[in-house]
Every structure is written in C-alpha cells, then in structure tokens.
C-alpha cells in the first residue's frame, strides 16, 4: 500500500506519492522572480532555504488563475521545489499495483492513471516534471 496526496489542477485530479512530499506549507508568501517563464512564480523561504515556487497548472498547460494557499514541497531529491496547485485533497491509501495505464507520452509528466471508485487520478512523473522544469529555466531569459 502507498499513500497518495491527490490534488486538483483545473478540474482534473493529479496525485503524488506521499514519500516524495517533504511538507505541505500554508500561507507561505511567494517572492516573485521576473523575466522568466510564467509558470515560475518565484521562490518561497523554506526553513531558511530559497525554494523555487512553480505554478504547476500553468506548467502543465492549464489556464492561469488563483491557486490554493497551500503548496506542496517535494523532497530534496527533487529540488526541493514548491508546487502550487488548485486544490489539495485528502490523502488516500492505494495499491500502486492498481495503476491502470502506463503512460508512454514524454510530454505530459504522467506516470500512470489510477481508477479510484470511478474517479481517474493521474500520477505525476517527477523525473519528467524536473526535466521539464530544467528546460523551462534554461530557456527562460533568452529574450523572446
């Protein structure tokens, strides 16, 4: 059994494995960084460290908007990076053997889909997400 932290991006439900989450922070002011991709909000101060804050919906192609006040901070292995999402949902226990389809697409950052009582939950592929972020950052600042 694994624990998943589900959250909403637009009207879709995504999830991360709880072991990849370092902390969920609430009401952390974000400090803007300008002249970079819009998916990069800026940074938050996280236990004395500067941690990149990412607008996950924007990064994955969802429309711009106000995000939820809580952000998910990934473990140091993946940055650390703070992800803004539209809404955090309750942690669920799930058997990872129940992943329905293994995604083949390189682009969408989805590892697979889980069917939870008829609701479809996309499991984020963190390695891909990090790679996409690196691309975005490398490209940022190249004048358009």
């Amino acid at each position: 059994m694994s624990q998943l932290l589900p959250f909403k991006l637009g009207s879709e439900v995504y999830a991360l494995e709880l072991i990849d989450v370092q902390e969920v922070v609430e009401h952390h002011p974000t400090h803007p960084l300008l002249g970079v991709s819009e998916a990069i909000i800026g940074a938050i101060g996280f236990h004395g460290r500067i941690v990149p804050a990412i607008d996950l919906p924007l990064l994955l192609g969802f429309p711009a908007g106000e995000r939820c006040e809580r952000m998910i901070v990934l473990t140091d292995e993946h940055g650390p990076v703070a992800l803004a999402v539209d809404q955090l949902l309750r942690i669920i226990d799930i058997d990872l053997g129940r992943i329905l389809s293994q995604s083949n697409s390189e682009e969408d950052c989805i590892r697979g889909v889980i069917n939870l009582d008829g609701k479809m939950i996309s499991l984020l592929a963190l390695e891909q997400l990090c790679a996409v972020l690196e691309q975005v950052c490398t490209a940022s600042g190249d004048t358009r």
Partner: protein, 614 residues
C-alpha cells in the same frame, strides 16, 4: 619520517595488488588447477601482508595473512574449490574496505568475524548511515527492521518518536535508527521512524505492544531498507570535501553548546514573559551567531599563497621563452580569501602576469603582486615597471574598432580610456601591437573578476609601468548589496558592481539617436530600463527617476529602476536546481524580514541579446 607520503604509497600499491588478485581469481575460477595462477595469487596476498605489517596496519596484515594461508593450502592441494574462490573474493572486498578506512584515516574495521568464520560467511551488512559505531559485524539475519509512521494528527512528532524509540529499546538492542536519537532531539522533523533491532521478542509481540499507541498510523516490518537506501544515494552525491582543523571543529562544538544553552535561556525567558531576559538572551544570540558566522567563513578561507605559489614557475618559463629577465615579488600572500574565489583567481592572475611580461616589460624588469585588505574587500594588484600603457594609442584603437566615437574619445579622461582595454574586441591575439596590445584577453579577466562580485581597475603612467588591481569581496557568501525594487520584485546588486546611484529629474533625460542618455559629470551615459530587461510593463512615470550607474560589458550604463531600497549585508545562497539554470540571477538571499531577494546578474541576462546584436 613523512608517514603521510608512505601511507599514500602503500594505498596505491596495495590497491594494485588487490586488483591483480581479483582479476586472477576469475582466471583461476575458470581453471581451478592453474598452478601458475595459484602461485600468483599467493604472491599478491603475501605482498599485501608484508606492506601492511610494515605500516602497522594490523587488521589488514592479519586478513592478508589469512588469505595467504588459505592459498598456501591450495598450493599443496594443487587446486582451488569454487567455495574458496567465493571466500577469497569476499576477502578481497573486505581488504578493499580496509584500504578505504586507512585512506579516510579511520581505525581499520573488524576482520576477526571474517577470519573466524568456518563457512563462507553471509553477506555483511552494509553500513550506510554514518553512526558513531559501525556495526558491520552484525549479520543481517538476527536483526529486525521496524518502521513506524505517526498519525497525521500528532502535533508533537519529536517527543512521540523519542518515546517510541525508548520503548523499542526495551525489546533489545538498537543497532541503527533513522532518524537517530540525536537527530530527533535536535529537532529533525519527521513522522517516520525506522529502527534496526536485535531482539528475542517476536515481531507479533512487538506489534501487539505498539498497538496501544493510538498515535501510530502504521507499524511495518519491512524486508528491505528504503530509507537507508535513499540516504546512501544522497551521501554518494556529496561533492567537494574540505579538510578542517580539529581545533576549529572543537570551536564549532563549543559554539553549538552555547547556542543550545542560549535557546533554553530564551525559551524560559519567553515562557516567563521576562522581557529584560529575552533581550539579554537575544543580545547573546547575536554575539554567538556572529561568532559562528566568523568561524564558518574561516573553514572556507585559504591563503592567497595557494595560488601565487605556482606563479614563480610560470614566470621562469615566460622568461625562458621570451628571453627577458623578470623578477617576481609577492607581497601579502598570507591574506586569506574564500576558496571559491581563490579557485577562480588562478587564470586571471596568470593571464595578467603573462601580459605584464610579454607586453609591459622590455628587456628586464620587475613584476610585483601585492595583496592587502581594505575593510571587507581584498585588493590584489599586479604591477610592472615596464613601458606602461599609452592612453592616446588606446583612444585611437578604440575609435578604430568602433568601441567609441571620436567625440567620446576626446571627452573621456585618460583613466577612463585605460579601462577600455578590457572591452571585448579591443584587442585580439592576432593583432597585438607593441603598446596597445596590453588588452589581450583582458575582457576575459574582467569577466572572471566580475563574476566573483569584484571589479578590475587599470592604471598606468606612461614609461613607468602599469598597475592592474582586482577588488574582490572576502567571501562569496556574505556580501553587501544594493536593494532594488522593480515591478514588485526585490532584487539586489553587489555593491562592488555599483559605481553610483543617482536620482534625476525626467527633464534631465536626453536622447541620442534612439538611445536615452543622461549627462553625468560631463559624460553621456546610456539608460537601460530594468523593467524592459525583465520583460515587464512600463509602469507609471517616476519623478525623480532612480538610476543605478553600473558597468555592463565594460560600458558605463544607467539602469532605470522603480525604487532604491538601500544597502544591506546578505548571506547569498546559490539557487537550487533548476533555478541554477536561469539567466539574469545567480543567487538569492532571505532577508531578516523573510523577504527573498534575487541577485541581479545583468550580463548573463543580456549576453544572448548582445551576441545577436554584434
């Protein structure tokens, strides 16, 4: 006797013998009656034994001796069993670990368990977490792994985990705990505890007792060890190491102790709402933090000597190739700088030295490298007594190369003109002229210095020589910055990069062609809008207009910002991945009030644009 030297020799030689043994064992495995192979193995083990005994590495010598004995038996029998091959390979592995210990100047690990074991012993447990005492000798089978996960509702995970750890310790002996007791007490925040336990008590019984803890969400007895695995991954990716004087470490420990005491003082003062004591405690805290900061910086400091020490040889070679006679004098080599800065100084210094010898000094002369401290900056000057740089020739060449127009050339002071030799494109290696050729590669030097938050200044008196001075911050970590507000974002610029800040009225802004300029001390300075560079909307017109006068690619520019917010000393952090790839910022700092400031790196931001433009 230089024991260190012999230790290194021993290590590299022993490693070679071990490699030979490992290779040879594979050969012998394929042909167990290979007489010559067995002989070779015996000799290798024998050599290691002899060397280790000479160096008094007892465990290594004993193990090598043990392997030698077994091989001697094989020689008598004329063959090696497959079982023994396995054992010998395990022995080679263990010897490799021992060499690791010796290399790290650690006590050698235990070999008796291996030597005494009759059978090829089960695989030794990997010691992955650095604990006080390695527990390699404990076979895995007898220990039990327990992982506990606290319920989300628990508000005091630290004390709760500590109670659980104490409870578990009543079942038997705790070999390893992640986090360790120490880490828990130090306030490491986690909701999970993993313990390796040697116990007579069964897992079922432990589970039953732990079920009385409603605070636990989960109790599992995992077969493998994912947490430790993760930690090993992290530790293997650790980068550069630093040797630290043990005295310095002791001071860290003492300071930590004082900080802990201070914490309790503050805590109880706050608890009793005794503000005078809180104030006193805070004063103490300020002193301790300052001291700690000072000591931490010390760890990173190295004398300039580590760079200048290589220069006499370079000078000798340059003299030989040029046929000139040059004397090198170094002054202030004991001045200490952050190692990150020193590492970046080797190339620029060598370059400046070469320029001085190749282009400054005619037949014979003197190059002087002088370092000294001025407040929180270190100045390093390379001076020669050669012919000097002729500002008129520099003017001419700069105009020729379209760096300035002739009107500008006439208006500029000699000193400002000299700085032009650092402009890219001022001079190239193929077009060295006798006097103005001094600029070879100076743009590279200047860029390197500026990357470190420093400045490069050129000064020369014709006929008397040239002085090139690098002004460097002491440390890359703590620097003084000018805080700038731009479209609601907080930015900082190292003070060493700021020539001047000015506020001008809108009517002072003139146009020169398409370019907005202002006149500063009679010099026309082009204006750049920070908002525009950062792709922001224009913003409401300001009066007065705040300007930061700085240099970009060697050119003086006025940077238009929304607001100047004053200066502050900040602790700069490198930005974590993936922000380290961003152009336009090369660090950040968290200010006292919690706001995050990004260090502005205009050159990297404009590099691409400029490459297109030229």
């Amino acid at each position: 006797m230089d024991i260190e030297k012999y230790r290194k020799m021993f290590l590299s030689e022993a490693a070679e013998h071990l490699q030979n043994m490992a290779d040879q064992l594979i050969v012998v495995e394929a042909d167990p009656e290979d007489r010559a192979g067995i002989d070779a193995l015996f000799r290798e083990a024998h050599s290691i034994k002899g060397m280790a005994a000479t160096m008094s590495f007892d465990a290594t010598a004993r193990l090598a001796h043990h392997l030698e004995d077994r091989l001697s038996d094989c020689r008598d029998q004329g063959c090696v069993s497959g079982e023994l091959i396995d054992r010998l390979l395990a022995g080679v592995d263990l010897l490799e670990d021992l060499l690791e210990d010796i290399r790290d100047q650690q006590p050698e690990r235990d070999v008796d368990a291996f030597i005494d074991a009759k059978q090829p012993i089960p695989e030794l447990e990997e010691v992955v977490v650095v604990e006080e005492e390695p527990i390699a000798a404990e076979p895995v089978k007898e220990s039990l792994l327990v992982r506990l996960l606290l319920a989300d509702t628990i508000t005091t995970p630290g004390p709760r985990l500590l109670v659980l750890l104490k409870h578990l310790s009543r079942f038997g002996k705790i070999l390893q705990s992640t986090p360790s007791e120490e880490q828990i007490i130090q306030g490491e925040v986690t909701r999970q505890l993993q313990v390796r336990l040697v116990t007579e008590v069964s897992a079922e019984e432990i589970l039953q007792q732990l079920q009385s803890y409603g605070e636990l969400a989960e109790v599992v007895f995992p077969a493998e060890e994912p947490v430790a695995e993760k930690m090993r991954k992290q530790s293997s990716s650790s980068s550069a190491t630093v040797r630290v004087d043990t005295d310095l470490l002791d001071r860290f420990i003492n300071l930590t102790g004082e900080l802990i005491t201070n914490r309790y003082t503050l805590q109880s003062a706050a608890g009793e709402k005794s503000w005078s004591e809180v104030n006193e405690g805070l004063g103490q805290l300020a002193r301790l933090v300052k001291d700690l900061h000072h000591q931490v910086l010390k760890v990173r400091m190295m004398p300039l000597q580590s760079v200048t020490g290589r220069l006499p040889r370079a000078v000798r070679e340059l003299c030989q190739s040029s046929g000139k006679e040059v004397k090198l004098e170094v002054e202030g080599a004991t001045i200490e700088l952050d190692r990150a800065i020193l590492e970046e100084l080797t190339d620029p210094l060598t370059h400046m030295l070469r320029n001085a010898i190749d282009h400054g000094i005619e037949e014979q002369g003197r190059v002087q490298i002088k370092a000294w401290r001025e407040r929180d900056q270190v100045l390093i000057q390379v001076a020669d007594d050669g012919r000097g740089i002729d500002p008129e020739q520099v003017r001419q060449r700069a105009v020729e190369r379209d760096l300035i127009n002739s009107t500008q050339a006439q208006a500029m002071r000699d000193y400002d003109v000299l700085q032009l030799i650092c402009q890219p494109g001022f001079s190239t290696a193929e077009q060295v002229t006798e006097t103005s050729g001094r600029g070879v590669g100076m743009d590279v030097v200047k860029t390197a210095v500026e990357k470190l938050g420093g400045v490069l200044l050129i000064d020369s008196t014709l006929g008397e020589g040239a002085r090139i001075t690098m002004k460097l911050p002491l440390s890359v970590a703590i620097i003084r910055v000018l805080l700038i507000d731009c479209a609601g974002s907080l930015l900082g610029m190292p003070i060493t990069r700021v020539l001047q800040t000015v506020e001008v009225a809108p009517e002072e802004v003139q146009t020169s062609g398409k370019q907005l300029v202002i006149s500063l001390h009679g010099e026309l300075v082009p204006l750049l809008s920070l908002r525009k560079i950062l792709q922001q909307s224009k913003g409401s017109p300001k009066n007065p207009i705040a300007l930061v006068i700085t240099e970009i690619f060697g050119r003086k520019v006025g940077l238009v910002v929304d607001r100047l917010l004053g200066q502050q000393e900040v602790f700069v952090q490198a930005l974590p991945s993936p922000f380290d790839r961003l152009k336009g910022t090369n660090g950040g700092a968290i200010l006292g009030d919690g706001r995050i400031m990004f260090l502005l790196d205009l050159q990297s931001k404009l590099e691409k644009r400029r490459a297109k433009g030229t």
